[in-house]
């Protein structure tokens, strides 16, 4: 299977601080890949570089063969980014928000189809015509995931997708992500919730202080460190 995302010796330096210290990993087409690590490890910075929001200081990133620095516009056509705690325009209704976003990707009949798909995926029922400002956290997250998935991206990048959600909403969101992967979309998710990543991802990379400390399938990593879960793997890998 070909690689949808490849990072080679990627560094991000802010002044005299190295936020990301030359990391490398790749994500295969159609898999759910987890980037895990504690807060401040460099997860969000890495995702932002992949999504063309931040410039890369050193190294290279390619998405489906497109270099993010040299072909940023091409990359933005095939990715969808869902930032942590992101929101939508509060003065719009859910439907208006879906329409606004769909207009960046399609027009004519394709546009209408995309809007219908987005509304269906959000599963908000009648509330799709309510103002976004009246949505609960779970409803907001469903709307944003629908927005991210309706253009059928090749790579979906999601930062802390279930942070702040209750058990029911978090479960529902994880199910949506599984469905997305079944439909052939490659997903890169970041989280500091290692149990969530273990249940979702086929492979993971562990990042700490800007370095990849370990990567592989959850099963291989648990075996390698003789651990019961990824949390134990992470602790032992960091101490190594």
């Amino acid at each position: 299977m070909a690689d949808a995302l490849v990072l080679k010796d990627v560094k991000k330096i802010y002044g005299d601080r190295e936020a990301v210290k030359g990391i490398s990993f790749s994500v295969r087409e159609g898999e759910i890949f987890g980037l895990i690590g504690p807060n401040g490890a460099g997860k969000t910075t890495t995702l932002r570089m992949i999504c063309t929001l931040l410039n890369i200081t050193e190294g290279s990133i390619s998405v489906c063969g497109h270099d993010v620095m040299k072909e940023s516009e091409e990359v933005r056509k095939i990715i969808s980014y869902l930032p942590e705690d992101s929101g939508a325009y509060k003065d719009l209704t859910g439907r208006q928000y879906i329409r606004f976003m769909a207009a960046f990707f399609a027009d004519g009949e394709k546009y209408h189809q995309m809007v219908e798909k987005g509304i269906r995926m959000s599963n908000l029922g009648d509330r799709i015509d309510s103002k976004v400002s009246t949505y609960s956290k779970g409803m907001m997250r469903r709307l944003l995931i629908a927005r991210a998935m309706m253009p059928e991206p090749k790579l979906a990048v999601m930062d802390e997708i279930t942070s702040g959600l209750d058990v029911m909403n978090a479960y529902e969101i994880r199910e949506i992500v599984r469905d997305i992967a079944k439909n052939g979309v490659t997903a890169l998710i970041s989280s500091h919730n290692m149990f969530e990543v273990e249940s979702l991802c086929s492979r993971v990379a562990m990042i700490n202080h800007g370095n990849i400390v370990e990567h592989g399938t959850p099963a291989d990593l648990k075996r390698k460190y003789d651990a019961n879960n990824l949390e134990e793997v992470f602790v032992r890998a960091v101490k190594k």
Binding site: Y14, G15, D16, R17, R48, C51, T52, L53, L54, N55, E73, R76, K77, I79, S80, Y81, L82, P83, E84, D85, S86, G87, A88, Y89, K90, M101, F104, F105, R147
Partner: protein
């Protein structure tokens, strides 16, 4: 009580930020400065000024002259000198030094205006030679006739209080009239009391004012300034409001986008960054235009209500109206200035983190709009000192504020220079905006830049040293 103190302290801490304290101090200093400027203008307008007199230029002033029969030019000159001394509270010698006799024929309007311009005089009175025979007529009641004293002005846009000197100019003839009346009465010569009480007439058609090189009769600069006051006040206020509104819209939009994290999503859409910038600029410009038109209409009604009955001067009768081309130029300057505001706000907006910070970020743009507003409400471009002119020229929002008066008075060098400056200013701000939108600053803020990191490090080191000691 402790709870109340606790809550009040917390609220005060939130409300009295360094930013809000600076804005309070700046507004106070601004108001004080404006007060001083107005005081200076009023003081200057009522101070003794050089005047010109068209009357018996060849003979000069006889320092030994005294009142006898009021039938010699020397006595008339003494009368003018005494009236001046009375009006400005000076002695006779000082008054004489301010009075300049012009070698021009009485009634030669263009010749008098040319002499005024060459000598830099604010106003001139023209006394006909017949004044002595008219006074003799009043005294003897044989062919009694009043003498019309003509006054000449050159209209300059000198701001709200600069034109006060014109009223002082006409008062000179009034003072002459009072003194002359008393002198005639003192001579106790029987005659028509109405002529004794009012041997002179002035004002009305006797006023002559040069506007843009054309001499108009029956008008004074004071009356013209009064009519122009409505727009002198209105234009700066409307421009200031539009700039503040537009600035607030753009910066708040950026603050809101960052707070709701919608900006990150927007920046990953398959569109150019320049399209995002253009869209935001265009929307804000349309809002600015709507604000501008709405406020202009509202202010026009307000000012009409405020000034109704105070003046019946039709400015277009004196060539002081705007043609179609002038309106086009005015709108172009307003548009360029709004664009400058938008450019500055897009740059400032890039550094905001949330809605609250966005509100504070509007402060620099508020100062840049309020300062020229205060200046041009009370002063005109031509009345500003060189340093003031330089400062006002550099502030982009000054240009639409002074454009209307400059267009009316045909001062095209300031208009065209201002347009060229605004074009360059706008190009630079757009260039900087595009650079910022293509950099990491938009996402990370200033904290992650090399300079700010070094500054923070330095600050933290000093703090640690202080705590350790």
């Amino acid at each position: 009580m402790n709870h109340l103190v606790n809550i009040t302290k917390k609220e005060l801490k939130e409300l009295l930020t360094p930013g809000s304290i600076v804005s309070i101090v700046v507004v106070m200093v601004l108001l004080m400065s404006v007060g001083t400027v107005i005081g200076g203008e009023v003081e200057e307008s009522s101070a003794a000024a050089d005047i010109g007199v068209v009357y018996d230029a060849g003979a000069g002033i006889d320092p030994a002259a005294s009142y006898a029969y009021l039938d010699t030019p020397a006595e008339i000159k003494l009368l003018i000198q005494d009236a001046y001394a009375y009006l400005y509270g000076t002695d006779g010698g000082t008054a004489a030094s301010f009075i300049h006799y012009l070698d021009v024929a009485s009634g030669d309007d263009d010749g008098i205006i040319a002499a005024m311009e060459s000598k830099g005089l604010s106003y001139v009175i023209s006394v006909p030679d017949a004044i002595t025979s008219n006074i003799a007529g009043i005294k003897t009641m044989s062919g009694a006739e009043q003498t019309r004293i003509d006054t000449y002005f050159i209209f300059k846009d000198e701001g709200l209080f600069g034109s006060a000197s014109d009223s002082v100019g006409t008062s000179l003839v009034g003072a002459m009239n009072s003194i002359l009346s008393k002198k005639i009465a003192d001579m106790a010569i029987s005659g028509d009391s109405s002529y004794i009480l009012q041997p002179l007439t002035w004002g009305g058609d006797g006023n002559h004012t040069s506007v843009n090189g054309t001499v108009y009769s029956g008008i004074t600069p004071y009356a013209l300034s009064g009519s122009m006051m409505s727009q002198s006040l209105m234009v700066p206020i409307v421009v200031m409001i539009v700039i503040l509104m537009v600035g607030s819209v753009v910066i708040s939009s950026m603050g809101s986008e960052k707070e709701n994290k919608t900006l990150e999503t927007l920046l990953t859409m398959p569109i150019r960054r320049t399209t995002i910038i253009s869209g935001k600029l265009l929307a804000a410009a349309i809002v600015g235009l709507v604000y501008g038109v709405a406020y202009m209409i509202g202010m026009m009604f307000y000012m009409t209500g405020l000034t109704v009955g105070s003046t019946d001067v039709n400015l277009s009768d004196y060539g002081l109206s705007l043609g179609m081309l002038d309106w086009v130029i005015l709108m172009a300057i307003l548009f360029l200035a709004i664009f400058s505001a938008l450019g500055i706000c897009m740059i400032l907006g890039a550094f905001t983190k949330n809605y609250k910070m966005a509100q504070q970020m509007t402060m620099p743009i508020s100062f840049l709009a309020i300062i020229p507003m205060f200046v041009f409400m009370f002063m005109s471009w031509s009345a500003l000192p060189a340093l003031g002119k330089a400062l006002m020229f550099l502030i982009p929002f000054s240009h639409p504020m002074m454009a209307m008066n400059n267009l009316m008075l045909g001062d095209m060098s300031v208009i065209l220079g201002g347009m060229a400056y605004l074009l360059i200013f706008d190009a630079i701000t757009i260039f900087i905006t595009v650079k910022i939108y293509n950099s990491d600053i938009l996402i990370t803020g200033l904290e992650q830049t090399k300079f700010m990191r070094k500054l923070n490090k330095l600050f933290n080191m000093k703090k640690e040293d202080h705590e350790n000691s």
